[in-house]
């Protein structure tokens, strides 16, 4: 942690002073990046800051912690909790399954076409989210879905009688995994490719068994990118709304759906509470990404 913060300071130190000096000398220097910064400030940074400030203001515009405190009411806490659970469960399942698939296609000795087909398909599936994904899972695991019907008629297993429901925590998690696994495969495959053959040979020369090679070389090297990607998957699921909304309507009250209802109709009867919910979401995904960047910096040390 310390060396990272140091390097960040170093970067910051390097960027700031010359920028000042050059702006005085030659303002045209900034011409090419002006549209980008104007756009980013107006449509990305200011709207977000506006909400974040609004979270700490009351209707009269005075500073207050009331909105943040009001997040503690049971329905909102429950919404955050179920969102965190779904995001975490889908991120972990997606990460382990994706890692297994990536290892299988890179190191498993499968034919080459399987590797390229898997990577192509992963590119597609990681972008196949939103409303259509919900439709696909309703057609599969809904009450009349193909998998539900086949399990019932062929195997005599009525999953709905056993408490399964697509409009539930596990239903939503299973659906999210459909874009989480491919995302993991796409991100982690280069990391596994980056494991140098020489390391395996060096380990073997020193007399390591396969298990030792994995435990003492592979896992420590992959670990940071793996954890980093888990966090990225978490943030990815946490902000998603379209799939959940199309799948469950508002029967599963995750945070984005609560915020959606609040924006549409002020269901919480307090405009600034909406800001506070948005603020909470930014804090959670923001923290997740800070960890992601930290882990990625660590992993790049080895994989370059």
């Amino acid at each position: 942690m310390t060396d990272l913060s140091l390097s960040n300071q170093a970067i910051a130190g390097k960027t700031a002073p010359p920028a000042e000096a050059r702006r005085l000398r030659l303002p045209t220097q900034w011409l090419g990046v002006t549209p980008f910064f104007v756009f980013a400030i107006m449509f990305l940074i200011l709207p977000t800051l506006y909400l974040m400030l609004g979270a700490f203001q009351n209707d009269a515009g005075e500073f207050t912690f009331e909105n943040i405190a009001a997040l503690a009411q049971p329905s909102i806490v429950a919404a955050y909790w179920i969102s965190i659970k779904v995001s975490l469960a889908s991120a972990l399942i997606g990460a382990f399954a994706g890692l297994a698939i990536a290892i299988a296609i890179v190191r498993g000795g499968l034919p080459d076409w399987i590797r390229s087909a898997t990577l192509t398909f992963s590119g597609v599936a990681s972008n196949f989210a939103g409303v259509p994904l919900a439709f696909a899972f309703l057609a599969t695991l809904g009450r009349l879905g193909l998998a539900t019907v086949i399990l019932n008629t062929v195997f005599g297993l009525n999953i709905y009688a056993h408490g399964f429901n697509i409009l539930s925590f596990w239903g939503l998690t299973l659906t999210y995994v459909y874009f989480q696994i491919p995302l993991m495969v796409v991100i982690i495959t280069p990391a596994i490719d980056g494991l140098k053959k020489e390391w395996g040979e060096a380990a073997a020369t020193l007399g390591a068994t396969t298990a030792q090679y994995w435990r003492m070389v592979v896992i420590p090297v992959i670990w940071p990118s793996f954890l980093g990607t888990v966090i990225l998957l978490f943030a990815n699921a946490f902000g998603a709304i379209a799939t959940a909304y199309a799948l469950t309507g508002s029967s599963l009250n995750i945070v984005p759906i609560l915020l959606y209802a609040q924006i549409r109709g002020d269901v919480l009867h307090n405009a600034h509470l909406g800001y506070a919910i948005a603020f909470g979401m930014i804090v959670i995904t923001g923290l997740a990404n800070v960890f992601y960047i930290w882990f990625r910096t660590r992993s790049e040390r080895w994989l370059k």
């Binding site: 960027t15 506006y50 498993g108 399987i114 898997t118 398909f121 939103g130 193909l146 709304i241 948005a278």
Partner: protein, 263 residues
């Protein structure tokens, strides 16, 4: 490693089952509309639906404007950073990652509050303004992908030499960007464009909260009210995503040709 290969096959088969069963189920479900026989009725109804055509065209147009806006913002910035301002690269990269940190619903919530009818910049006061705001919102969603695609493209060419050569021949900045740099990174820009298209075409959150008649809200509406059409729409949407990704792959095969000419 015999057992290793066996387990690799097991993992691959399980993964393939998880990913293909929903697709097969959706295809099967979408063809169940006519009682007792498989048919393409659901597809016919969907494709013949006026609202499908209208909302789909709306989203296609929105995607095209998003791509144009994204290119206008990203290409000059990425080019300039490579040429003159490498020291601000970390700042710009951080900003381009922000849309992955800030959920789309929060960004659009900010727009609604900041650019409402009574604000100094009342985007939401008119239809045209709201459409523009939707395109702007989409451009922020696509920013991380567009920037990365263009930056990767620029990495493969010698920006400085090309620029100096063009300057010696008397080209102005406009000419340099449109006639020298852009053609060289065209493949990368197109990859970013198709990815943007795939993201934008079925986007629900922003379009719905800005009350735009886009494809995503239409999908959601059909899903809430119909039985078989949603499955047909899911297959159509999957085909569109697949098409975009295939085009990116095909394009990437052409990419090295331009990259290997650093002269």
């Amino acid at each position: 490693m015999k057992s290793g290969r066996f387990w690799a096959w097991v993992v691959f088969a399980l993964g393939a089952a998880y990913f293909f069963i929903p697709l097969i189920a959706t295809v099967e479900f979408s063809m169940r509309m006519r009682r007792g026989a498989y048919s393409f009725d659901a597809y016919q109804i969907v494709l013949g639906d006026e609202r499908f055509q209208a909302t789909f065209m709306y989203s296609v147009v929105a995607a095209i404007f998003t791509i144009i806006l994204g290119v206008l913002i990203v290409v000059p910035a990425a080019y300039w950073i490579r040429l003159r301002l490498p020291q601000i690269r970390p700042v710009v990269e951080f900003i381009t990652l922000l849309p992955l940190v800030i959920p789309a619903i929060v960004i659009v919530f900010g727009y609604i509050r900041m650019y409402g009818s009574n604000s100094p910049l009342p985007f939401l006061a008119s239809d045209t303004g709201t459409n523009a705001l939707l395109v702007i919102g989409y451009a922020t969603l696509a920013l991380p992908y567009m920037y990365r695609a263009v930056d990767t493209g620029l990495r493969t060419i010698d920006v400085r030499t090309l620029t100096e050569a063009a300057q010696i021949l008397g080209a102005g900045w406009g000419t340099i960007i449109t006639r020298v740099i852009l053609p060289n990174v065209l493949i990368a820009v197109l990859s970013g464009a198709f990815l943007t298209f795939a993201i934008v075409i079925g986007e629900f959150t922003m379009a719905s909260l800005l009350n735009r008649p886009a494809f995503g809200p239409y999908l959601q509406n059909i899903g809430a009210n119909r039985a078989y059409e949603p499955a047909a729409l899911a297959i159509i949407a999957f085909a569109i995503t697949w098409g975009c990704m295939s085009l990116i792959q095909i394009l990437s095969r052409f990419a090295p040709k331009s990259a290997n000419r650093p002269n």
